[in-house]
């Protein structure tokens, strides 16, 4: 019987097969950042252990960093950044430090460098590690104890997850982006619909998507509860990787292509679950509540909790509307925003910024909106000038206001259209109200002052 992409990657990384215990998997790439690693390095020190494979480990500074000279980090953040620098120096781990010109959001620079490759196992102490699955890797987030385990052993004990294939069928309307596809999928599945599963995204829409769009989709797998998302590698993947510094060169490239072409799920392979989504019915998506599954089309309205069947859902929706300061029935387009954030590991890649720049070029941010672009990596192609001319703030690479661990935060009660991945209570600042959208909708909303699509402003 045929095998899935997940099964192929899993089986090729078995160090030992568990008997009454989890399998032991080899880890090809371990990405590290300042927030979830200090206690892991300290654990190594206390036990007298080393980092087994510094050459398969890469650290960057992203969560806490200052995105501008006007907003220096606080002493605790500084201490955490210094701890990472010290730990990397002590254990021989390569570090892309702030100011090195190579730093960036961990899930943006991995693919940019070409280190994120098909068929690899990739882990990081961050739940959005699922991003890297877009090239056909098995990539998932881990906690600090597991970070320590990988640093010490380059392996991870894991039970094999169940498999779920989401097939996007049909033709998407032109305004629909990767972000809208994945938000619609989370809305359908629910924020726990993928728990215990690795998702494989498939269908003609996925095959036609750019690499950046695929990265956006896999990034948000965790918002449906799935620890990892994967997409079969194809010519789009290979064209994206070819020539990048971390990618194989020459004869090694040809050999890699042969391996990678054997990875896609066999036609007779089976999944534990299958879900089909008709993309023709999808429109630009806007979240209205306090988790990513609370989402409606931009043409829609804030839902009425009273109409919900499940008592838990109803109570959660009622709490969410109080937190968000919204009334049932309010048309989404009439909701005004105070802030717009374009950034995060979900939507800060160069293609995302190009899409937003195309909307704002030659126009100006609405006078009542403060809008900010925080790229995922240092390279900007001159797009910064388009944004600043339109009244956006352009800041240095980092996680920034996606989770507000640095000075980029919402004030209590402020409403923000954000291209990030989580609209949890307080995520972008205590009391802040986050609405998740695509880069194109974020840009149009910045110009209009309320939720809007590109054609309307």
């Amino acid at each position: 019987m045929g095998r899935t992409l997940l099964e192929k990657v899993w089986e090729s990384h078995l160090v030992s097969r568990g008997e009454g215990r989890p399998d032991l998997l080899y880890v090809d790439l371990h990405l590290v950042h300042e927030v979830t690693s200090p206690q892991a390095f300290e654990g190594l020190r206390l036990a007298g252990r080393r980092v087994r494979r510094p050459d398969l480990t890469l650290a960057t500074m992203d969560h806490n960093v200052a995105t501008g000279d006007d907003t220096p980090v606080d002493p605790l953040s500084q201490q955490q950044l210094e701890a990472l620098a010290l730990n990397c120096a002590d254990f021989g781990v390569p570090l892309y430090a702030t100011g090195s010109g190579r730093e960036g959001i961990v899930h943006v620079i991995g693919p940019e460098l070409g280190l994120t490759q098909p068929g690899l196992t990739i882990v990081c102490g961050d739940s959005h590690t699922s991003t890297h699955g877009a090239v056909g890797a098995l990539a998932f987030g881990i906690g600090t104890s597991e970070v320590e385990h990988v640093l010490a052993t380059q392996t991870l004990a894991q039970r094999r997850p169940r498999s779920l294939r989401i097939r996007f069928e049909g033709v998407a309307p032109p305004a629909v982006t990767a972000k809208d596809l994945v938000l619609a999928a989370i809305g359908k599945l629910g924020v726990d619909g993928g728990v215990g599963h690795v998702v494989e995204y498939a269908g003609p829409v996925i095959e036609q998507l750019s690499m950046e769009g695929r990265l956006t989709i896999c990034n948000m797998s965790i918002e449906a509860g799935a620890r990892a998302g994967m997409i079969a590698p194809d010519d789009t993947t290979f064209a994206y990787l070819e020539g990048r510094p971390g990618a194989p060169q020459g004869a090694a490239w040809e050999a890699a292509l042969d391996r990678w072409r054997a990875l896609p799920t066999d036609s007779d392979a089976t999944f534990d679950r299958e879900v089909v989504i008709d993309v023709a019915a999808i429109r630009s998506q806007v979240t209205w509540g306090t988790n990513p599954g609370m989402v409606v089309p931009i043409d829609g309205a804030v839902p009425d909790p009273a109409a919900m069947d499940d008592a838990d859902d109803r109570a959660a929706a009622e709490r969410a509307l109080v937190y968000m300061g919204l009334e049932p029935g309010t048309p989404i387009r009439t909701i005004e925003v105070d802030r717009v954030f374009i950034g995060s590991c979900t939507n800060s890649r160069i293609e995302d910024l190009r899409a937003a720049a195309a909307v704002v070029r030659g126009r100006h941010v609405h006078p009542s909106v403060r809008a900010m672009v925080v790229p995922g990596q240092a390279e900007a192609e001159g797009l910064d000038r388009i944004f600043t001319a339109a009244g956006f703030e352009w800041r240095r690479a980092g996680c920034s206001m996606c989770l507000g661990m640095n000075p980029d935060v919402l004030a209590p009660g402020e409403r923000c259209a954000s291209t990030s991945n989580r609209n949890f209570e307080g995520r972008q600042g205590a009391g802040g109200r986050t609405h998740l959208v695509s880069p194109a909708v974020a840009a149009a909303t910045a110009l209009a002052g309320h939720f809007a699509e590109a054609g309307e402003v």
Partner: protein, 190 residues
Amino acid sequence: MKAFRTVTSRAAVLDRPDVDTDQIIPKQFLKRIERTGFGEFLFFDWRKHPAFELNQPEAQGTRILLAGRNFGCGSSREHAPWALQDYGFDAVIAPSFGDIFRQNSLKIGLLPVTLPAGQVHDLMARARAGEELTVDLEARTAGGFPFDLDDFQRECLLQGLDEIALTLREEDAIAAYEAAHAAPISTLTV
């Protein structure tokens, strides 16, 4: 890791679905480089509201938390189970958990117990009536209901085993894997 055998205690009830790790421990507390001391910041924003479940007199001193479905969804921050454990909880019982949260909890000896929603609601009713509940890992029961946990995880928890030391016993297998598979990348040469 802290060993876990059995706990008998009144239980706190947090009957909300999809409680995310951003609520359990907000980001401003992730800047600390220690593993301890997170308990005082548990549910930092929610605890500002007098009506919040854990602020009620009956929730004080409880060592078991009864929670709604998908508890601990979201971020991979191990600070969330650290905070729950440091606050005084030894076990969390819910219909389902976020995958990474569950894994992180098992690594530190905070026992995540998965039971069908109906049984969790039954336990919630008993907890609200002031009944003490027992979570017994050896017998794999919680409030009298049997729960699943594989033998390996159970043994690790019962003995408080260091999983890194266990894995390092497989050094020969790891070395054999490395000898048979050339590394596909190098982070030192990019």
